[in-house]
C-alpha cells in the first residue's frame, strides 16, 4: 500500500479528535500557564491579568539561586549514579537468556510505575528507627543502637536513584540490545579480558547513547517532587517541590507558573541536546 497525502477533507477525519483533544487540553493549558506567569498576584491567592515581569524578577534572589543550584546538583548526581550502574547492568542484561530478560523487565517496569508516594513511604520505612535497616546493622554488630536515617541528603539521593534506575535501564535497553555483539568478541579474540573489552570497546562505542541517557535521566530526576519532601529537610527541596509549594500552599500561581516556564525551557534545551547526541550516533 502506498502512503498518499490526504486529498479530500474526509481523509483528515481520523485526525480531528486527537488533534482537538491535544490542542484543547495540552496546548491551551500550557498557554494559560505561560499567560499566568505574567499576571499580577493579588492578596488572598487570586491574580489579575496583567503583563508584569515581577514573577521572573524573583529568580534573581539568593534563595531561588540556592534551590536551583541544589536541584541541578541533585539531578546530576542521581543521573551519574544511575548511568554508572545502569550501563554495565543493561549490557549484561541484554546478553542474558530471553526468559531472564523478561523477568527483569517486568520487575523494572513494576518498580518504575510504583507511585512516588509509595517509593517515599517504602524508603522512609527502611530508614526508620523502628523498622529500618539500622536494626539489621545492630543485629550484625556494626552499630550499637538503631537510629533513624531520615531526613537527610543521603536518604533523598538513595530514594531518587531507586526511582530513576529502572528508567535508566529502559532508556539504555534498546541501544544495548542492538549493539553489535561482534565488537566485544573481536576484542576478546585479540586477547582483551571481558572487563577490558567492555571499557575499551563497548563504552566508547556507546559514548553518544550514554550522553543522551545521562540527559534523559537528569530531566527525569529534575521532575522528582515528593521524595525531597518526604525524606529531606527544607534545604533539600528542589525546583519541582517549590513549584508545588507555591501553587498549592502559598497560593502564588503566577510565581509557580513562572518557575514552571523556566523549568520547561531548561528541560527543552536538554531534550534538544539529547536528541542531537542521539542523532550523532546514527550519523556515524
Amino acid at each position: 500500500m502506498r502512503r498518499e497525502p490526504p486529498q479530500r477533507l474526509g481523509d483528515y477525519g481520523p485526525l480531528f479528535f486527537p488533534a482537538g483533544m491535544l490542542t484543547l487540553f495540552f496546548v491551551v493549558p500550557f498557554a494559560t500557564m505561560i499567560a499566568v506567569s505574567f499576571f499580577q498576584r493579588e492578596q488572598g491567592g487570586f491574580y489579575t491579568p496583567a503583563f508584569v515581569l515581577d514573577n521572573y524578577a524573583r529568580f534573581l534572589s539568593l534563595f531561588f539561586g540556592k534551590v536551583l543550584g541544589f536541584s541541578l546538583f541533585l539531578a546530576v548526581a542521581v543521573a551519574i549514579a544511575c548511568v554508572v550502574v545502569g550501563v554495565p547492568f543493561t549490557y549484561l542484561l541484554a546478553r542474558s537468556a530471553r526468559k531472564m530478560q523478561i523477568a527483569w523487565l517486568v520487575a523494572l517496569l513494576s518498580i518504575l510505575s510504583l507511585s512516588e508516594v509509595m517509593i517515599g513511604f517504602a524508603w522512609s520505612t527502611l530508614f526508620s528507627r523502628t523498622a529500618g535497616i539500622t536494626n539489621l546493622f545492630v543485629w550484625l554488630g556494626l552499630m550499637s543502637q538503631a537510629q533513624a536515617l531520615t531526613p537527610s541528603f543521603g536518604a533523598v539521593m538513595t530514594a531518587m536513584t531507586y526511582q530513576a534506575f529502572p528508567y535508566t535501564v529502559l532508556v539504555l535497553y534498546p541501544a544495548l540490545v542492538r549493539l553489535d555483539p561482534t565488537l566485544a568478541e573481536a576484542a576478546r579474540t585479540l586477547g582483551a579480558s571481558p572487563v577490558k573489552a567492555f571499557f575499551t570497546v563497548v563504552v566508547p562505542a556507546l559514548r553518544n547513547t550514554i550522553l543522551a541517557t545521562l540527559i534523559m535521566v537528569f530531566i527525569f530526576a529534575l521532575g522528582s517532587y515528593l521524595l525531597p519532601q518526604l525524606l529531606g529537610r527544607p534545604q533539600h527541596w528542589t525546583l519541582s517541590v517549590l513549584i508545588t509549594d507555591q501553587a498549592i500552599y502559598q497560593s502564588n500561581m503566577p510565581f509557580a507558573a513562572a518557575m514552571a516556564v523556566f523549568l520547561v525551557l531548561v528541560s527543552l534545551a536538554l531534550v534538544g541536546l539529547a536528541v542531537y547526541a542521539g542523532q550523532q550516533k546514527e550519523a556515524k
Binding site: D11, M21, L109
Partner: protein
C-alpha cells in the same frame, strides 16, 4: 564474566527489593506498629483496603480514574497513530510530538498547566477533569506502542486487500485491527498502571475534592503511620507485576521496549 554478572545482578536486585521486602514485612504486623521483622502475623491490613470505607472509596476512585483515562488515552492515540501510518502528512507529526511532550517534561509542568486551565475555566475539582488530565498525560504510552505496532505491519498485506476491492474501513477492521490488537492492549495496560499510581497531576486537579489511593497515602502520611499504607503499596506492586507479566506472556515485551525482534 558470569561471576561478575551474578554479583552485579544480585546487588542491583537487593537494592531494588530491600524497601519492598520491608514494606511487605510491616504490612503483616499484628498491631498498628511500624516494626520489622513483623511482630505476629495478620492480613487484617489487607482487609482494611476493602472494608474501611475511606480506603475502599480511594481504591474505587483510583480504579475508575485509571480505567477511564487509559481508555481516553487510547481513543486519542489510535486514530492519530493510524493517520500517521496511513497518510503522508509530515506536518501532522507535530501532534505526535504534542502527544509525547507531557511524558518527557517534568510532570509538575503538565500538572500546573492543567491546574491553571481548570481553575480558569471554572471546572476545577470535578472528578471527570482528572480523567481528561490523565488521558492527556498518559497518551504517550499507547501512542508509542501503537506507532511500533503500525510500523511492524507488512504493507503488502494491506495492498492485497485493497486490490481485492476492500475499502479503507474494511481493511482497518479485517487486516489492520487484528494485527495491532496486542499493541492496543499493551498501550492500555501501560497507561492504566501508570494512572493508578500517578500523584501530582491528580493532586493538582482534584486533590481537594477526591482522594485517589496515592493521594490518600500522602495525606495519611502527614498524620502518622498505619500499616494499610504498606498493604496498599504491596497490592499496587502486585497489580503492576501481574499486568506487565500478562503483557510479557501474551506479547513481546523486549520488542515493545525497543529491542529488535529476533527474526530480523
Amino acid at each position: 564474566m558470569t561471576a561478575l554478572r551474578r554479583l552485579l545482578f544480585f546487588v542491583v536486585g537487593l537494592f531494588l527489593a530491600l524497601p519492598l521486602i520491608v514494606v511487605a514485612g510491616v504490612s503483616i504486623n499484628q498491631r498498628q506498629t511500624l516494626a520489622f521483622p513483623p511482630q505476629g502475623f495478620s492480613l487484617a491490613w489487607y482487609g482494611q483496603i476493602f472494608t474501611n470505607p475511606e480506603w475502599r472509596n480511594a481504591l474505587v476512585a483510583s480504579l475508575t480514574l485509571a480505567a477511564t483515562s487509559a481508555l481516553l488515552a487510547l481513543l486519542i492515540a489510535l486514530p492519530l497513530a493510524w493517520f500517521l501510518w496511513r497518510r503522508l502528512a509530515p506536518w501532522a507529526n507535530i501532534f505526535q510530538l504534542l502527544g509525547v511532550a507531557p511524558f518527557t517534561l517534568p510532570p509538575v509542568i503538565t500538572a500546573l498547566g492543567l491546574l491553571t486551565f481548570w481553575a480558569t475555566t471554572g471546572l476545577y475539582g470535578q472528578a471527570w477533569t482528572a480523567a481528561i488530565s490523565h488521558g492527556i498525560f498518559f497518551v504517550t504510552l499507547p501512542l508509542v506502542t501503537l506507532s511500533l505496532g503500525f510500523s511492524a505491519i507488512d504493507r503488502s498485506l494491506v495492498e492485497a486487500a485493497a486490490t481485492m476491492g476492500a475499502d479503507d474501513r474494511t481493511i482497518f477492521r479485517t487486516v489492520v485491527l487484528p494485527l495491532i490488537l496486542p499493541y492496543i492492549v499493551s498501550g492500555y495496560a501501560f497507561a492504566f498502571v501508570l494512572s493508578l499510581n500517578e500523584y501530582i497531576v491528580a493532586y493538582m486537579t482534584v486533590g481537594f475534592t477526591m482522594e485517589t489511593l496515592p493521594i490518600k497515602i500522602f495525606n495519611a502520611l502527614r498524620y502518622g503511620y498505619t500499616p494499610t499504607m504498606a498493604s496498599v503499596t504491596v497490592l499496587f506492586l502486585v497489580i503492576a507485576a501481574v499486568i506487565f507479566g500478562l503483557v510479557a506472556r501474551f506479547g513481546d515485551l523486549p520488542k515493545l521496549l525497543g529491542a529488535l525482534s529476533e527474526d530480523k
